[in-house]
Symmetry: C2
Subunit: 369 residues, 2 copies
């Protein structure tokens, strides 16, 4: 038996807010596409964007498909593609009560809007049939072709009431900053369907990965996912998205959280002096952030001096902001038993491991209560 | 007498690592240009880049020319253009022993390399004649057309030994991340001349101000100057610039510093796992950062809970990293008497106000010692 499988179980359950599943083979998507788009898909295929590697996955092959070395199912399939293996290696082993699937299959960044729409539909139907209907612990993010908000809303309306879908996924490298009005129809639908936006980091995009163009190394790109997320927080707050959509919640996934306090300080200090530019805001930027944003824990910030981790928790100014995530089965997976660099008191631990997620996501959607 | 001028003096001197001076009128540059480039300048003029506003200054007119409302000389000239006014309002009033002038006149981002070279020469000659030769407290950054490193090196060789020039200025919004080999000749020259690189934030550039394109508001752009600087730190470290140029020092100007610890944690954590991608690095990224980077204090980070400021100082892991700066005469000027949100102990205060700057910059360059 795998060492991973036999280890001591968590004493409490966890909600894993970031699990990556994938197609076991490129052919699996084909039955989910209409004839017209199957033909297109097979004949013309993806357009990849700068910063994506050429492989099927979106990550560089640190380990192939960015996976843990033990993340490969015994059947030789790619990591994240075999539900039975995922159950044994992760869901059961780590006492996962609910796990949210966030596929990174490259749908949203296709330049052909109609193709992106067809792929989003196919992916969501595949998620329902192959994952959500097969294990009651699994939930998933709705994949939407968000660069065409009309099509994105259409897809939210098509599957938004399905009990397995608990959030709408956007990626952090959009064509325009995500606060811009172009994307507001998506937020309107999210609010109407009671679905948070999950904003996941991504290595590729429409623009250079920095405001000075392209980095050279994966290590650089991966570090700079945080700055790429910071500018999206700034955009959503300053454009007034939360003033217009007061029930909207945004979960930043895999972007870190130790940078959040310094961003709030900078935004607040500046807002007080430049208020007249943003008359549509009615509160301090930090108040919008604490109310509307949540941050997943993986990759867990690890200060050189562990006690500095407590400072960050204190600076966040709220115990409600962090949601636990492992990033299973990727190489930088956080093990629930070892992820915190310090001992966390029981009450906060429960909040981070599951209570905060339960207050944001409707895991019992569709059930008679 | 101006209220500013009559206020209590600092008990100790300061070194102001960021003062902005400017041309009193557009004509002042003309005698410093050759016939060929004067003609070009008058006939074709600047190309401004996205994100720059149309005014002569680089900042949006929060207050015109981004200035403090009391920063306008009585003679009606623009802020930062009148040395006598600057002396009275700032150098004397704030007990400035040395002040480093960083002009933001838009030289470096001109797309025509030869024009940028001509402008850089003109600006540096103007700095010598109108500023450095007129007040012994003033020092300046050499302006270089850094997108053409050959021309940049030529300019460093031309004026690099002048006793008034204590650093080479680059801007944070470059065409490529500043760690890339394209820019290494500049670092070689910087090391050879014993001049730190001053990397100043800027609102305009060759690329969108985020990795998702353009923000809408000045408040967003101004907050996102920090993420734009973070990615440059990542680039300089990961490309191995400090391995190749072990004496090089980089001063990040006006980019903040509260984000530095979280960036070091993230880089270190990742480096340990992905070392094989960066075999040219011999130490932890945080070690390179603490040895080679310095950060100016303005705009001073102001945590909601003032004592959190102490945590940040502790997380930085060194008392040597911060250099005091006011950003005079801009709107977000930090007053030396009021800039720290908490009481700082005397020894650290001295380091930040002047000792750290004295250990990085050669203010007595050219003097017989």
């Amino acid at each position: 038996m795998n060492k991973e499988l036999s280890k001591k179980k968590q004493q409490h359950y966890i909600i894993d807010c970031d699990i990556h599943h994938d197609f076991p083979s490129p052919d699996v998507i084909l039955p989910y596409l209409s004839d017209r788009w199957r033909e297109h898909h097979l004949t013309y295929g993806f357009k990849e964007h700068h910063g994506f590697v050429h492989s099927f996955g979106l990550y560089p092959p640190v380990s192939p498909f960015a996976s843990r070395q033990d993340g490969w199912p015994h059947n030789g399939a790619r990591p994240g593609t075999d539900l039975e293996f995922m159950k044994a290696q992760h869901l059961e082993s780590n006492n996962v009560k609910y796990g949210i699937l966030n596929t990174l299959f490259p749908v949203q960044t296709q330049l052909n809007d109609e193709y992106a729409r067809a792929l989003a539909r196919a992916v969501n139907d595949w998620q329902i049939k192959e994952w959500l209907e097969k294990d009651s612990r699994l939930r998933a993010s709705i994949i939407v072709p968000y660069e065409n908000p009309e099509f994105a809303v259409e897809e939210i309306e098509r599957v938004g009431k399905h009990p397995g879908f608990v959030q709408i996924m956007l990626l952090c490298r959009s064509k325009e900053p995500l606060g811009r009005r172009k994307y507001w129809p998506i937020y309107e639908a999210a609010e109407a369907y009671g679905l948070p936006i999950g904003m996941h980091i991504i290595n590729g995009g429409m623009h250079g990965n920095t405001s000075s163009g392209w980095h050279s190394y994966y290590s650089e790109v991966h570090t700079s996912l945080s700055p790429g997320a910071q500018v999206q927080v700034v955009s959503l707050v300053c454009e007034g998205v939360f003033k217009r959509f007061p029930k909207l919640r945004v979960v930043l996934i895999e972007a870190g959280f130790a940078w959040v306090p310094s961003l709030m300080w900078r935004l607040d200090k500046q807002y007080v002096k430049l208020k007249s530019e943003l008359p549509h805001l009615k509160r301090l930027p930090s108040e919008y952030i604490r109310e509307h944003f949540r941050f997943t824990t993986q990759p867990m910030e690890e200060p050189t001096v562990p006690k500095h981790f407590y400072h960050i928790l204190e600076h966040l100014g709220s115990d409600d902001l962090l949601l636990f995530a492992t990033d299973y089965p990727h190489w930088d997976f956080d093990d629930p038993l070892k992820s915190f660099p310090v001992k966390i008191e029981q009450e906060l631990k429960q909040k981070i491991y599951y209570k905060n997620a339960e207050s944001i996501y409707d895991f019992k959607k569709g059930e008679i209560r």
